[in-house]
């Protein structure tokens, strides 16, 4: 299965991936309308300092702890991807408590929010990767 991998030596720390993620998952057609002046809730987060940066999103683990810890059955595995049924999530953050990568975050409505590789939105493949100017994140089979 294709996953997102990080090349931290190429990361500029520009945070574009965060914006592209938020836009791809907004369901809207116009980026300015979707994001301008709004607090964004991306599923990928850039960490680091002025020298080193790297972008972290869901690793889509082969044996995901978050799915085992989820108290509502919202987190599940779909064709190898870790997906979330937002209508079931109650925002307890047990998933955040067990994710060893700090990958999950909290969405606008308070329920958990996570990368699903853009396979269920209009983008069709990870928007963060598509928009990365320097190949610091790649989407491939390893």
């Amino acid at each position: 299965m294709k996953r997102i991998f990080v090349n931290e030596e190429w990361c500029l720390g520009c945070h574009l991936c965060e914006y592209n993620c938020a836009f791809a998952n907004s369901g809207m057609k116009n980026m300015a309308l979707a994001l301008k002046g709004k607090k964004i809730f991306p599923k990928i987060h850039v960490y680091g300092n002025d020298k080193i940066n790297f972008a972290v999103s869901c690793r889509h683990c082969e044996d995901p702890l978050c799915v085992k810890a989820c108290i509502s059955g919202a987190l599940h595995i779909k064709d190898g991807r870790v997906c979330i049924d937002k209508t079931k999530c109650v925002g307890c953050y047990s998933c955040i408590m067990v994710c060893p990568y700090g990958s999950l975050s909290v969405g606008e409505t308070g329920v958990a929010s996570k990368c699903e590789l853009c396979l269920d939105n209009a983008c069709g493949s990870p928007a963060c990767v598509k928009g990365c100017p320097n190949n610091a994140i790649v989407y491939e089979e390893r």
Binding site: F5, R59, L65, K68, A69, C92, S105, R142
Partner: protein
């Protein structure tokens, strides 16, 4: 004929079914379900009262789960007795079910202490099952005055669930702190104050001495008027099936890291069991959902002839109450026991870390809990904190505090 049998139909049972099917796709599974529902998310009962979920959203797995996994579920009957020689389970309807391997996933039962005059209380409930919840829901109205005995996780979750549906909620507990199983003197008062601001009344270090109809006379001499009573003082593991046949039982059914009991071919998992807890290096009952799933899954793999160990269980809780989030894990080793305690308090946030012998042993976060899983990972994997920028990590849990090599491994390969 070869057959797996599971007693109980909760989370541990679901984990076991999935564990068995990782390894063995053919052998039939029979599930004995005391409750008359497919496996549902027990922790969601308070969210149901609160209107944050609905009955049809509370199923733990989808509608075809049992059929897809070749399970026959016997609803509304209980296992009365195990015959370990014959390898059979006697059901409440007199039937005997043969097993090749058996999982006891019987969960726990609410402990209801005796109070003088309790028989004069008309509307009294536990808060453990969906049926408890539905009866409690029927008994309340928007003017109800609810008294909850127990300021632990279940009592306070119940309070949260009922808050906008009743007139008044009073909670009492013999302990001095709310949530005494997960919070300490530094953190409990802040959480209690937050709940008080949300209208919950507390009587701490106090409990009911006796009841007279709708009046509770407290040990302190005070009186509380109420019309609905919920007791949530704690749960007891359901161990009788194993103690009844001489299997090793302590507080819970004793299991090894393969989830095997002392009786051949019988496994146990979830709230009824007492397995290895890494944070204290001994067996302990950890009545938590993730633990039930992982223990059940491990048992399933082993019952089906695979080889799996569950040797890194720790207590861990992530829970919110009226918009305040709490995340805790591990063992809170005090300074007097050789620990080093780091505590940072800001207006909306408390972060506490317990370190001993170069390892993080436990943590408490109140407020911002994002990235807390990285701390849990440090505890479970016993990562030497001298290899990290721990100072930074305390405020900001992310992999910047780790070495570049570790980041390359974690984010550059399949995990």
């Amino acid at each position: 004929m070869k057959q797996y049998v599971i007693i109980g139909n909760g989370i541990a049972a679901a984990g076991c079914i999935e564990g068995i099917r990782k390894t063995d796709n053919d052998t039939p599974i029979t599930v004995i379900s005391g409750e008359k529902y497919p496996v549902y998310c027990r922790p969601l009962i308070s969210y149901y009262l609160q209107g944050k979920t609905a009955l049809e959203k509370m199923d733990y797995r989808n509608k075809t789960f049992y059929a897809d996994n070749g399970c026959n579920v016997i609803y509304g009957k209980t296992a009365e007795k195990i015959d370990p020689e014959d390898h059979t389970v006697l059901l409440s309807d007199g039937k005997n079910i043969p097993y090749t391997k058996l999982l006891v996933a019987a969960g726990s039962s609410p402990f209801v202490p005796h109070f003088d005059g309790i028989e004069t209380v008309e509307k009294k409930f536990s808060f453990m099952t969906l049926d408890d919840t539905l009866s409690l829901e029927k008994a309340i109205c928007k003017n109800s005055k609810v008294l909850i005995i127990g300021a632990g996780l279940i009592g306070l979750k119940c309070a949260e669930g009922l808050k906008d549906r009743v007139g008044k909620i009073t909670v009492c507990d013999l302990a001095k702190n709310v949530l005494s199983s997960i919070l300490d003197d530094d953190t409990a008062p802040a959480v209690q104050a937050h709940l008080e601001q949300n209208g919950i009344e507390f009587f701490m270090s106090d409990s009911v001495k006796s009841f007279d109809g709708n009046v509770a006379l407290m040990q302190s001499g005070k009186q509380v008027d109420f019309d609905v009573l919920v007791t949530a003082v704690g749960v007891r593991p359901n161990t009788a099936l194993i103690s009844g046949i001489g299997g090793e039982v302590n507080r819970g059914i004793v299991v090894d890291t393969k989830m095997q009991t002392s009786v051949p071919d019988i496994y146990a998992a979830g709230d009824c069991s007492e397995g290895y807890d890494l944070s204290v290096d001994k067996n302990r009952v950890l009545a938590l959902l993730p633990n039930a799933y992982m223990g059940g899954f491990t048992a399933g793999v082993n019952m089906a002839g695979g080889n799996k160990e569950f040797d890194n269980a720790i207590p861990m809780n992530s829970i919110g109450f009226m918009e305040i989030h709490i995340m805790t894990a591990g063992n809170y080793i005090a300074e007097k026991d050789g620990g080093t305690v780091f505590c940072k308090k800001t207006e909306n946030d408390i972060r506490k870390f317990f370190v001993k012998e170069d390892e993080l042993k436990g943590y408490i976060l109140v407020g911002n809990v994002l990235g807390g899983g990285i701390y849990t990972y440090l505890i479970r994997e016993k990562i030497p904190i001298s290899t990290l920028d721990f100072e930074n990590l305390q405020n900001d849990p992310n992999f910047f505090a780790f070495s570049e090599e570790i980041r390359r491994k974690k984010f550059g390969g399949v995990v």
